[in-house]
């Protein structure tokens, strides 16, 4: 009997098999469908369309510090440097073939959901034009704070999901299988619950995981939700953390002093540098609304299209700033956090334009000061090392002072 794989080994295996299958899609009689990280991908999975996330591929290149180089190529085609670094580095990859991975197969169809952001829709339009390919936009109006309006928004989204099914049937000439969708939803629901359990491990003191673990750990649910292997992965991951860390009281930092909230996507190319720098001050970033975006709560007793619509339309990125603040404050309470870093990400307008207002609300409600800094998640040209390091140092001095005053 073979030995049980570790979560790391399992992640590698799942990813390799997934990419292998995607590259062999046509051989297997399947289509490659590009989609956005927050999108009702369950419909693709149920219809045997292999989902590919250009964002994930961009993350790999941006983390490997290829952002500036790839973005420059795109800018030479007439696109401005203000656009999302995911999009710019992706278009640069398509122009040059430069990547730190095996790359990703070309799409047959594209589906963009604006619950995450509208930039993805525009980026996918550009890709669709290049290959003269069909693109479906799943339009999710802001989940405004009005019960009646919310019911109508969900109805509108369900109608669109039905349109998407008809669109898929028309392209593939294959009838959509609703029983298969129910099965896919079951896996998605299980994996999402386990993923949330994984994120919530950060409630322990000291926290056994940091946001950097979450950012690595979230990859599988982003691109493999709706599959049994995704469920297996998160079960393994949770078991490992419980057994190896929580039960032994092992934390990311044993001298954990500051439990921090992070707003926004990470600065991908500074990922580990930030962890080390913050750690040197006794700070560990525990969570963000961003990593919780995949903590879906699918209700399997409901019509699958209704629970899909309800979940995707209510993501943090499609919620009002007031609701986002409520979601973040819930995390502050549950994770007992005492600091926050608010990143104004030039690439991500959808998340960043809420940050100043969000910061004000959270600070007012918690009394916790915030560190706000501006940079870019993937384009190194917008990152100022000295300035950000100085701000982080100054922020911890403030937190130290506050803590001293509190204990006095």
């Amino acid at each position: 009997m073979s030995e049980k794989l570790t979560s790391k080994e399992l992640s590698k295996k799942i990813t390799n098999e997934y990419i292998d299958e995607a590259f062999r899609a046509h051989e297997l009689g399947k289509l490659v469908g590009y989609t956005t990280a927050i999108s009702p991908v369950e419909l693709f999975v149920a219809h045997d369309v292999i989902p590919i996330y250009p964002e994930n591929h961009s993350v790999a290149n941006l983390t490997a510090k290829k952002g500036a180089e790839l973005c420059t190529v795109t800018e030479s085609l007439g696109y401005t440097s203000h656009l999302c670094a995911y999009a710019r580095s992706d278009l640069g990859y398509r122009e040059t073939g430069m990547t730190v991975t095996r790359g990703i197969p070309a799409p047959d169809i594209l589906m963009a959901c604006n619950a995450q952001c509208f930039t993805l829709t525009k980026w996918f339009q550009v890709l669709a034009r290049r290959g003269n390919l069909p693109v479906f936009v799943f339009d999710t109006p802001e989940y405004v704070m009005n019960k009646k309006a919310r019911e109508e928004i969900v109805k509108y989204c369900v109608i669109q999901l039905k349109e998407m099914i008809a669109w898929l049937e028309n392209i593939t000439k294959k009838k959509f299988d609703y029983d298969r969708l129910k099965e896919v939803m079951k896996y998605s629901a299980q994996a999402s619950a386990l993923y949330k359990k994984f994120l919530d491990m950060a409630q322990h003191k000291p926290s056994p995981i940091s946001i950097f673990d979450c950012l690595i750990g979230m990859a599988i649910t982003v691109y493999r939700r709706g599959t049994p292997e995704c469920v297996e992965y998160y079960q393994t991951l949770c078991d490992e953390i419980m057994e190896n860390k929580v039960s032994k009281g092992i934390g990311v930092l044993q001298n954990e002093k500051y439990r921090l909230y992070w707003e926004n996507l990470p600065v991908w190319f500074k990922f580990s540098d930030h962890a080390k720098l913050l750690g040197s001050y006794g700070g560990v970033i525990l969570t963000s609304l961003y990593v919780h975006a995949w903590s879906f709560e699918f209700n399997l007793d409901k019509d699958p299209l209704v629970t899909l619509a309800e979940n995707y339309v209510s993501r943090f990125s499609n919620s009002t700033i007031e609701d986002r603040a409520t979601m973040a404050l819930d995390l502050f309470k549950r994770y007992d956090m005492n600091g926050m870093i608010m990143f104004m990400n030039r690439s991500c307008k959808a998340v960043s334009f809420a940050v100043p207002t969000l910061k004000d609300i959270i600070t007012k409600r918690t009394g916790i000061p915030a560190l706000v800094f501006e940079s870019d998640m993937g384009d190194q040209r917008f990152y100022s090392e000295t300035q950000i390091r100085t701000r982080i140092e100054a922020y911890f001095e403030t937190l130290d002072r506050l803590q001293l005053a509190k204990s006095a």
Binding site: F118, T119, R129, D139, P141, E152, I159, E322, T357
Partner: protein
């Protein structure tokens, strides 16, 4: 107050209409509802007895908006936010804010949080336009807006009031179209700045009154045949500051067609005849031309531009890019490529609200048209 304006007065008011809207409000005792662009069904607001005012930025300095929206946000969004946060917020009793992109979505939230004591409603326009669900959704949103305005005003919408409102708004657009046509054929008769001031002010004042001014202005136009103009079309969303139109006038460009939300796209909003008025407003939503932030096909935009260019016999296209409008920035490289491939000369004009100096715009524009006139013209 708006019924006997000369063209000179229109230009003056269009630059800063707010002092006069204040006077009008004081005189009539009516409520004023501001709305950002595009596509808010202003006829509904008017039918409730309120004055709908399109907010199209301010030229006054930015003071408070930068602390809410960073410098890479759409300059119109920042300018509009500044307009209400620092200068004119107290004038308005309420706001209706359309959401058409990431920026406008956040703008609505920031606005609502900034004005907790005022009526603030979102108009959630669909961001896809080519499927039946889009039509379904527009109707739902129009009905929701009716219900929201009913709740705020405490009175229900009467069919005859909406019908009359639609008639007034349609008349306004028809008059503007007629004036546009006169200017198109006789560029010396009316300048670009004057024409677009007429459209802008129409979007901001009481149309029952202003239509009277439009009729008089139209009848009083003295047709002049002046040579030396180059016919151009303007493509984009808005074109500000108004001094840009002065520049066009100065170098003798005649705008013979446009796709602006503050231009022809507004005039395309004539509500069709339909017994059911909500259906009519829904139908109208889809009669307007391409709008970059809505998911629509850029090929369609290209075909629209090409058709307009040919139909008007224009000699060049001026694409007006609002600084940091992400949607335009995604569309533009492909659109430019298609336009150039078709052999249509295109000049890209980058604009920013709060622009103080237009010297760089002038230099680039002059260079482009000098070379064009020295060549094919």
């Amino acid at each position: 107050m708006w019924d006997n304006l000369s063209i000179k007065q229109v230009v003056k008011h269009a630059n800063d209409p707010y002092p006069y809207i204040r006077k009008w409000k004081k005189g009539t005792g009516k409520k004023v509802v501001g709305h950002t662009i595009p596509d808010v069904p202003e006829e509904l607001i008017y039918a409730f007895g309120f004055l709908p005012v399109s907010l199209i930025g301010t030229d006054k300095p930015l003071k408070k908006a930068p602390s809410r929206l960073p410098d890479n946000a759409c300059s119109l969004a920042r300018s509009n936010l500044e307009l209400v946060l620092s200068y004119e917020g107290d004038l308005f009793d309420g706001f209706v804010l359309p959401q058409v992109c990431d920026t406008t979505q956040h703008l609505s939230d920031i606005w609502r949080i900034s004005f907790p004591d005022k009526y603030v409603e979102s108009f959630l326009a669909p961001r896809q336009a080519d499927r039946p669900s889009a039509r379904y959704w527009v109707k739902e949103e129009i009905e929701r807006l009716v219900s929201s305005l009913t709740g705020w005003s405490g009175k229900s919408l009467k069919d005859e009031d909406l019908r009359e409102s639609i008639r007034i708004h349609n008349e306004n657009k028809a008059l503007l179209k007629e004036i546009y046509e006169i200017k198109r054929k006789n560029p010396g008769t009316l300048g670009n700045k004057e024409l677009f001031a007429l459209i802008k002010l129409s979007m901001q004042v009481d149309k029952t009154e202003f239509n009277k001014s439009l009729k008089k202005i139209k009848e009083g136009l003295k047709i002049k045949k002046v040579d030396g103009y180059t016919d151009v079309i303007l493509v984009g969303i808005t074109c500000d500051p108004p001094e840009v139109y002065e520049l066009f006038d100065e170098i003798k460009l005649n705008i013979v067609g446009d796709t602006l939300v503050t231009g022809t796209r507004y005039l395309q909003g004539i509500v069709p005849d339909n017994e059911n008025l909500i259906d009519a407003l829904t139908e109208r939503h889809f009669k307007r031309g391409f709008f970059s932030p809505i998911h629509d096909n850029v090929y369609k935009n290209f075909e629209e531009v090409k058709a307009l260019y040919k139909q008007t016999n224009a000699k060049a296209i001026i694409y007006v890019h609002i600084e940091f409008c992400e949607s335009q920035e995604y569309d533009l490289p492909d659109l430019k490529r298609m336009i150039k491939k078709e052999g249509m000369p295109i000049h890209e004009l980058d604009t920013e609200y709060q622009t103080i100096s237009l010297s760089h715009v002038r230099t680039r524009l002059q260079a482009f048209f000098e070379s064009l006139r020295g060549g094919a013209l």
